[in-house]
Symmetry: C4
Subunit: 273 residues, 4 copies
Amino acid sequence: MGSFRGHALPGTYFFLMSFWWIIKSILKYVSKKQKRICYLGTKASTQRVELVEGIILIFMALSGIGGEQFLNGGPSLILYKEGQWNQLDGWHHCTMYFFFGLMGVSKVLCSTINSLPGSLVKLMMSNALFVEGFIFYNHTHGREMLDIFVHQMLCLVVLLAGIVSFLEFLTKNNVLLELLRSSLLMLQGTWFWQVAFVLYPPNGSPKWDLKDHNNRMFLSICLCWHYAFTYMIIGVSCVFVTWLVKWRLRRLCPSEVGLLKNTEREQESEEEV
Amino acid sequence: MGSFRGHALPGTYFFLMSFWWIIKSILKYVSKKQKRICYLGTKASTQRVELVEGIILIFMALSGIGGEQFLNGGPSLILYKEGQWNQLDGWHHCTMYFFFGLMGVSKVLCSTINSLPGSLVKLMMSNALFVEGFIFYNHTHGREMLDIFVHQMLCLVVLLAGIVSFLEFLTKNNVLLELLRSSLLMLQGTWFWQVAFVLYPPNGSPKWDLKDHNNRMFLSICLCWHYAFTYMIIGVSCVFVTWLVKWRLRRLCPSEVGLLKNTEREQESEEEV
Amino acid sequence: MGSFRGHALPGTYFFLMSFWWIIKSILKYVSKKQKRICYLGTKASTQRVELVEGIILIFMALSGIGGEQFLNGGPSLILYKEGQWNQLDGWHHCTMYFFFGLMGVSKVLCSTINSLPGSLVKLMMSNALFVEGFIFYNHTHGREMLDIFVHQMLCLVVLLAGIVSFLEFLTKNNVLLELLRSSLLMLQGTWFWQVAFVLYPPNGSPKWDLKDHNNRMFLSICLCWHYAFTYMIIGVSCVFVTWLVKWRLRRLCPSEVGLLKNTEREQESEEEV
Amino acid sequence: MGSFRGHALPGTYFFLMSFWWIIKSILKYVSKKQKRICYLGTKASTQRVELVEGIILIFMALSGIGGEQFLNGGPSLILYKEGQWNQLDGWHHCTMYFFFGLMGVSKVLCSTINSLPGSLVKLMMSNALFVEGFIFYNHTHGREMLDIFVHQMLCLVVLLAGIVSFLEFLTKNNVLLELLRSSLLMLQGTWFWQVAFVLYPPNGSPKWDLKDHNNRMFLSICLCWHYAFTYMIIGVSCVFVTWLVKWRLRRLCPSEVGLLKNTEREQESEEEV
């Protein structure tokens, strides 16, 4: 990892995964509201999507582990060399990737074996996030102040995402909890990019002063702006998906839309009474 | 902010907002108990109230951001000037206001678009409070002991309010949770005033010794007294609103009151059996 | 407080209150299991008990405040004297008593006004405990190591009791949560006595070395033994109350006991099928 | 304890207990899914299993207390000797064993007395774990960095297990929560072995440098690998138990299996609709 690319890669993974989950959550919610469309509705298609997601997650984890171990002079699977531990940082990162890989495996299993409880995936996600947070917490001994700070922020975001995943595991089908978790994962992704720019400025940009406390104060609000940015993405996705579903609906069965609107109006007037 | 007015303004905002929410919660609860009155009862009027609240929140946030940026020699939207960050304190405060503005936007959206889940507002409130707490936590580097202490207390109150908001988001319609959250917001409001008096004593009052530990011990119980004060306000509001609702009821339909009392008595006797 | 009696008094209060609550919880649970007895069963008698409890709580709070303010050279309601705060420790204790008094007031109100939600009392108890924990946390500046430690333990027990009370407020009618909360309150009571013996050894006993870390290690398991002791009391109460209820039942309606046993057996055999 | 065996013994106890609980949870879940088998299904047999578990737990606790008190020059029930506390470490361990013994007692009571609430066992388990975590937290004063670290990790795992037990107590019959708790207990068991190997390397292995921070970084991922290992055990148990149940089913009633499969298929097709 200790490089720009090493931080940009997981950042991109988290961003893409969470973006897809945001789209999926909204799509599921909107489809449910407009009950007649069976886009993503059948159990079989949902399971196929889960299966593909699981395989992609496993691929991501394997590529991450491979990159850590063999690129840029990684430890190459050697844990102990010449009387001391061999590049523990690389092993830390591999362990994190491994647990996300386990989550991918649980996704594959849950989508193929019916008798497994569906919330297993949520539990494994929460586990993977807690393990990641735990490792980041024990990761930054003896570094500069700002380096520690940006990793602590990462740790905070990861642990919050883990807690929200765990709440998802305990409750069922709360679309806002899903979006909250995805937004925190996306925040993690963009924050990985921020860390890459702060610690390894590319193309000869000037280095950040890692001891200046003003930088720390700036980065603490910067994290909030990243978070506001994920909200913006969720908002735009929401508008786009709703429009898409309505457009498909209109093309497929224009007569039913009118009916839908009527029933909606009736429901509302009933609620008002 | 760094002035008496800069602390009194958000204090007033929080106090007024939470006072209104206390009144609203009690009104809703009392109206529900006396089922026949439709004061605030129709969905349309509730939505109109939410809309107005949202617009007021947005206005408050914008006025706060404007004041921070352009009054008292604020940063004037310039983030980086002459090789260093430009007045990060002001930007911190703007970020907090911005997230409360987002909550206002979500209120407006939820009151105009029916398909949005109603608990979105609670989630955004909890988010805004967590962001505020996070920023306050990273806000007081290098200040005096008492200055840090009063901001830590603010941070504690804000985070507790955020947790209660999040619980409100997870559960539904618990009037006591609503009042608890409002009381914590009101505590925040009055505490802002207390901070203003401690750090920027107006009209030439003697300055507080920011290093004296006795002041800290006093302020820690002072916070509890503020909290007791919010209880008093809730109690008085409760009595007043109940009297108001009963008085309206008596004027509107004096015959029904008698009926209500009878049914109440019957219910009680049934419960006793 | 700063004396043996000052710690023994609240300790006795907490012990007696929690002992009564343990008896009450078990009595309610056993009576419910044996549905036909209406001991404590009518709503009216429950409310009368609540009313008396509330009045006793208010009396305890007032006696505590009075003792703190006027006995042993207390502050006598003077907060600020000769340019400095006047005996803030006493004011700290008064604030704690005050919030327990508020809980008593809420008990009285809930038992007289039917429209108030019943869980208000639980919320006020949790509030009183959180306030107590908060004040203890800010109470021990500049004291000896062991003095701080025993107060931290108090603070821990109080906050745990506050969390359990809050869970009771969120859930309904879980007898084990009630007993857990009562056991933590009883632990607090016996720990107050322990603190009194450690810090103010009576009758010329040798003083504890407040800097010796072995004392700290002993007191940390001592807390656990206190807790085991509350379990023993709960166990004995349980046996005694069950025996009492069955004895009353047998005396009042000996024929029904046989019926009860039969129905019990039937239920069990049904469950086994 | 302060020896290899003193850490290996509780490690083995926790490993065996949690392994049995993993098997039991999976067996219960699989049996429920295949409703017709009454393996472990009758209330009487469940109670008998609980009774035996309780007795084994009590035996484990007593053997642990006995070993601590009388083997290897333990305190032999003498708490205070020659003006100072006598081997408080041993008393710490005894207190932990004692609370697990209490849990065994509650298991025995719940399985013999029908009127006790079943979740009492969960509460006592959570209590025992919290007490253990609390004692470990106050256990390592003045030791080397790595010694403190491995005990902190133990403390973390124990407290997490305690929280999960408490969640089990609050919710009902969530097989994944049960497995999560068992996996954390198994992690505790294997970690005890790890601690034994780190602090008391057997057979003249080289000693670990207790001040080297690299060792700490290695042990932090080592904990994660232990956790991954418990997952593997759960996975293998799951496959084995499912195969066992199906095999028993096939041998007992081969005709019903076909029926089961048909109904399963029907259910699925219904869900897809």
